[in-house]
Structures are given as C-alpha cells and as structure tokens.
Amino acid sequence: MGKKISILVVDDEDSVRDSLTNWFLEDGFQVECAENAKKALQLLEHTQYDIILADIKMPGMDGLEMLKRIKALKTDAIVIMMTAFATVNTAVIALKDGAFDYITKPFDPDDLSHLIRNASKQISLAKENETLKTKVIALESVEDLIGNSQAMKHVLDQVESVAQSNASVIITGESGTGKELVARAIHANSSRKYYPLVSVHCGALTESLLESELFGHEKGAFTGAIYNRKGRFEMADSGTIFLDEIATITPKMQVELLRVLETKTFVRVGGNKEISSDFRVICATNRDLKTLVKQGIFREDLYYRLNVVNINVPPLRERVEDIPLLVDYFIGKYCTKMNKPIVTMDDAAIKRLEAYSFPGNIRELENMIERAIVIGTEKRIMLKDLPFGKEMIDSSVESLEDFERTFILQILNKYNWNITQTAKALKVDRVTLYNKIKKYDLKPD
C-alpha cells in the first residue's frame, strides 16, 4: 500500500498509549493518541484514521459509547476495542455496534500483529474496491458510449452536464441507438452511482403488470400475489429509475406516474401504507412525445414533468464516422466473449458498412459483427461475411452500372474470386465475367 496506514490509539493509561505507539511505529504505521473519548472524537472531526484502537473502560465517556458516536460520524475507520475485563457480553455489544474486532489486554504480540494485519487487509480491500468501482464506472461510461463524431460528442457533453443534477431526463432516438446506454452513463456519472439503476421496459408489460411492477404489491392483492413484493420505485430508492418506451403507457398509468413523480410517495397494489422513495427518473422513447401530446395520447402535464432535459441520440447514419470505432469495439467485445483471437475488418467491408443506412442502428451493426465473428474463419472480416444480400444493396448504388459492379464484386468475394464458380452463380460464361471485371476494374481485396 502506498500510503502509510494511520492508527488512533484511545486509552486513558499513558503506558498503554506509549507501548502501542512504539509498537506501531516499529511496524511502519502512522500513530496518534488520545487519552479519552472526547479528545478522540475531536481528532476525528478533522482527521481520517484507518484504524482506531480504543479501550472500552475509560473515565467519562466509555469505549462503547465512543464507538456509537464514531459510527454516527460515518467514518470508514476500522474500530478495534480493547479491554482488560473480558466478558462475552461487552464483546458482543461492541461487535453489534460495528466494531471490527475485540481484544483482551494484555494481548499476545502475535494476536496484535494478526489483528492489525487483518484490519490492514480489510482496508486494502476496501480501497481496492473503491478504485475498481471508479475504474468500472469510468470504463462503463467511456466504453459503452462510443463515438468521436460531433453528434456523439454533443450527447456526451449533455450527459456530463445533466448527470450531477437531479433533473428528469427524456432520451429520444430511433430504436437501437443506445438510449439505455445514455441512461446508464447519466446514472454512472451522478452522485447516485453507488445506488441501483432500475430499468423498466414499459412497452413489454400490460397495465396491471406495470402497476404491480412499478409500485409493488401486498400478499393477496391479486391472484398469484403470494408474497409481498417491492416495486421498482422502491428498489430505486437513492438511485435512478429508467422507464423505457414511456410513450406506451396507458392514460391511467400516466396519472399514477405523475402523482408519484410529484410526491415521491406511493402505495403498493393492495396495500394502504404510503411508501416514500428518493429516485431520479430517466425516460426513453423512440416516438415524438410532443406529437402524442398534441394528439391527446400523452398527458401534457406528465410530458413537462418528465421533459426537464431532452437528450436526442442520433441515428447511426448521421454519425457514419463512428462506424470504424464501433466496429473495433464490437469485434473486441465478441472475440473476447467467444475466446477467439481479435480479428480486423477489411476496408471494403468497412466502406460497405459506412454506405449502409442502418435502420436498426447500432443494435443492427452489433448483430452484424457478432454474426461475422461466429461464421468467420479468417483473420479478417470480409465483405462476404456481412449479411448484405441483394435487398440490402440499396443506399450505395445510384445507377444500374453501380448495381452491377457491386453485385458482381460481392459474388466474386463470396466465391473467393473463383471465376468458374462465380460465373456459374451469375449464370454467365467466364468470358463475360472477365469482360465485366475488366470493365469495372474489379480487383480482389
């Protein structure tokens, strides 16, 4: 561990404080002492310690009371209690109140070393956990939202600025653009990141199921409700709730939702106790909510309640420059997942992808890459590995000649430039095929 572990020794006996100080200094720790609980609590107001070693029996405030106050300070310090009067009772009380361990004075040198070693290990683990959490969050938010395009940079800027607030967010965008990833990035960058992000796909549930899903239910509320169940709003307490396909909810649910958003309280289905929950709401839709409001399908008051901030995720065809980055990301993701060596994608295949309109957006691109890695046997993903059938050659061809050129190249690639097989597939003779290759200046990749 880079930083020295700091220890606070709290004991009313000089000799104990001196001995422990000397012992810990020899072990390379940073040590400070307090002769009573009051002094210790004063020190804790402005100094963080990794370990607090405190005597239980002290004049004035005793160690157990001090332990409670230390815990109330919500410090991360590990507290070890020591006493000359070993009773199981005090040990149990100390442990129940959150002490890490308990040791009886005088202790065996090895017991003390062992105890401090364990506490140090715990501190290392907690610090490592904290570092990893930060790394994972950083990776999640950076890795998931990929793009160098202006459109995507704008989205990332919006995510960053909105994350720290508690404002409701509506994420709009075509299907498959990564709206849920944007919601995850907002949550991961917010102060609620250590609490849950609860997702609900409103479109997949009927009204009554959605009601029970969101608000929870009491045992016996309806047939099949054999247990009390927490709702998603309850689960999202201190965290974020993500309501996908918000445009699909019924008028009755819109009223219920509005009420919950206004009061942050609700009652479980079949229950009568009001439950409060502190959540942030993020919604997503691929439909134009404003139009739905005009048509009277979506409540205007709910729309304004939800639409404090609107983030529009651009479709893939509007950020073509991100395709190579996305391809690399998905290749890495699936090759690792399938335990295959990392492959690359042929330039012609990339160009073809860049020319495609991607009605299914990133989800479609992801599926294409996954498929290509599953069926591909070479070190490179070629155009033939991508599922571009005749019906897909639409956006890049603007003339019959273009179409013929692209189609012949596609079939040639499919048969690895075997002229006989390609000619047979195209139902032309080999001479005609050679003439076409010459005419369009076709070359193997």
Partner: protein, 174 residues
C-alpha cells in the same frame, strides 16, 4: 550515518565469550566500534508481582538514563522475562530513531519451551534480537523480506526463520 559507538550493556549474568560473539556479529552489521560494558540496576523495582515479569518500558527508560547518549546507541542486555503493559511478553524493544533499546535471553532459550538446551541456538536468537533492536534505534521499521533481521518476530520460531543480517533494502536505509 554519522560516526557513533554501539554499547552493549549487560545487566544480567552473561558469559564473556557469549557477549563477545554477540558484539562480533553486531560489528559485522554496523560499521561502528562496538563495546561491551557491565552495569547494574535493582531489578526488584521493575518487577510486577501480579504478572511475575519485568516492566520493559521502565527498564528502557532507565537504560536510556544510564546511557551516555553522546556516544551513540546502547542496548541493555537482560536475562529476565520482559513485558510491556499492553503485551504479554516481549523479546526486546527500542525507541525508534532513539538512543537505546533492550533485549532479553529469557524467552529465547530452548529450556523455556521444555526443550533440550542449545547454547548455540540461544546465541543466534539473542544476536538477532540485539541487531533487530539496534536497527530500530537507527530508524529502521519492520521489513517484510523473509530473511531480513528486521522482519517482526512474535514467536521464537519466527526468530529462527529469519536471518542474522539486514536485507539490501534495509542496509541501504541505514
């Protein structure tokens, strides 16, 4: 490291050759003159009847007072059972970056553990404790290198497992 003398002050009964060998090993580890002197304290003052042991903290303070601090580091050598209030026993202790330390043979002898006497092993153990405490007096903290003499030892077996010398890293810090 400034030039200073290391003094081994015997407060109990130790054979001359025993002390000479300890001094020789100490001299090998530290580039300073090592001298052996004999001294006396009334151990009864340090005895705790309830624990049947001698207070290491008080002894350390007395050794510190007796030592001629301008001459360098002093280790008081004892043959009684040492304790400090918080621990059941100690093999020795020193003031980190201080002038003095203490060490005792009491818990280092095989006889203490019901085993056959082994004079050579006792000498080795005691020498390790003396060098270890001197290391602290010179500002060294505990080391994790298994063979380094600055590795902490809470059992006599731990002392047997480590070496008689400083590791390169600790040597560099001296």
């Amino acid at each position: 490291m400034i030039n200073q003398t290391i003094t081994l002050t015997a407060f109990g009964y130790f054979g001359k050759s025993f002390l000479d060998k300890v001094a020789e090993a100490v001299k090998y580890e530290f580039p300073f003159p090592v001298r052996i002197i004999e001294s006396h304290v009334d151990l009864a003052e340090y005895f705790d009847p309830s624990r049947r042991q001698y207070d290491g903290n008080k002894l350390l303070k007395s050794v510190n007072k007796l030592a001629r601090q301008d001459t360098g580091k002093t280790i008081g050598l004892f043959d009684v059972d040492l304790y400090i209030p918080i621990l059941t026993y100690i093999f020795g202790q020193a003031i980190l970056n201080g002038e003095t330390g203490i060490a005792s043979t009491y818990r280092l002898s095989n006889e203490h553990y019901g085993l056959e006497p082994d004079h050579e092993l006792l000498l080795q153990r005691f020498t390790k404790v003396v060098i270890h405490e001197l290391g602290h007096a010179f500002g060294l903290i505990h080391c994790t290198t298994p063979t380094c003499v600055m590795r902490p030892s809470t059992y006599v077996e731990d002392i047997d497992q480590k070496g008689l010398h400083f590791c390169q890293q600790c040597k560099g810090k001296l």
